[in-house]
Symmetry: C2
Subunit: 225 residues, 2 copies
């Protein structure tokens, strides 16, 4: 019996969705760290969420969790709201892209279906949030997008930025300074042999930026053919 779902549970489901996007299961520790709570609390909660009717997720001891289709729908509902809020704040209220994530993390839980509808309409049904993440549509359909990690680009080759990681404001300010944002065209200049640090050139701004491998793995691009 699908009841009202607490804000905490909404965040659990959202995190699990994110961690299992590319297949596999979300681990207890992973979730504990992401949610800023103890592993014991996570175990407790996921056990509970696996025993609802219908269950939000499947839980196997020591094997982590995975959303059921039911749980995934619930997660997508919040993710839609989160991303709509982010793009609305940027487009209509003059926020910068490094400010919106924290704000959306709170507001997503306070958004009524009506507000969701009005914001969606005011932006003419936007397809992407400020960081390039796709916004699930009203039916919670989310487009599959062909994308690879910036790290996998070969030297001399070009690509177009699709999405950047959105949690860390510092990183976003760094990227923004060079014009590394969704839609930007970039070219890989060099990669150091030992630590795989990359130099890339951004076409639009003419800037060159240094990107380490872990950040490079979190930036998605479309490779130029």
């Amino acid at each position: 019996m699908p009841q009202k779902i607490s804000e905490n549970i909404q965040d659990y489901l959202k995190r699990i969705y994110e961690f299992t996007l590319s297949g596999g299961r979300a681990s207890t520790n992973q979730l504990a760290q992401a949610l800023g709570i103890s592993a014991a609390s996570v175990t407790n909660m996921v056990q509970k969420l696996s025993k609802t009717e219908p269950p939000y997720l499947t839980y196997e001891k020591h094997q982590g969790v995975k959303l059921t289709p039911f749980g995934e729908q619930a997660a997508l509902k919040i993710i839609r709201r989160h991303r709509l809020i982010e793009i609305y704040l940027v487009e209509k209220l003059g926020y910068t892209w490094d400010e919106v994530h924290a704000e959306a993390e709170i507001l997503e839980h306070a958004m009524s279906p009506l507000l969701e509808k009005r914001i969606d309409a005011a932006l003419d049904h936007p397809k992407f949030d400020p960081h390039g993440d796709p916004i699930p549509d009203i039916n919670l359909e989310i487009p599959e997008i062909e994308q690879t990690a910036l790290s996998s680009l070969e030297i001399g080759n070009k690509g177009r930025v699709l999405r950047v990681p959105n949690e860390d404001p510092q990183v976003l300010r760094y990227l923004g300074k060079f014009g590394i944002r969704p839609g930007a065209h970039i070219k890989l200049i060099s990669r150091t042999p030992y630590d795989q640090t990359m130099r890339i050139k951004i076409t639009e701004t003419g800037n060159e930026a240094v990107i380490g491998p872990s950040l490079g793995n979190k930036i998605s691009i479309a490779k130029d053919s």
Copy 2:
């Protein structure tokens, strides 16, 4: 030590502020009904809120409660946010004035100082909400407005609507239908002797409306000289 204040407590303080606006104290039952909880729970909470350092309110057994200046500041902070949200939803997102109260009741708790600032700026520092209630300014100052109840108008005399009650969507739709809104000019046509029901004429729309005494007491006007 002014800590973070829970959403529940924010609502308590807001209600107490409203009930004590015209002096006096807020009673346990009054609060219980307004908050939709038991009287016992209210007693418990107000006792707690009277023992914080500094206290949010003064509590005397069986005598009801009254906000301290500290508690009043806390209440005004939420009220500012509530009313800013209401006017924003009407001005920028196409809400009607009967839809905004319920929405603001939730969003007020999720609003960051930054969002408050941006919304305030986007509306060019609005002074009133859609129902004519004054919005406390950034320093939480709230203007004293000379106002009387519609009920106290004499037959044949005129006035200008200042504010209407904002909780009940049905009432707001009724008033809206006749054009009874802040700024509207009205004239009292008649008052029945037994139950004090009034007929009023709205200048702008030419409509005539019937208003009972209890509603008439909740509509504020400025009398024409």
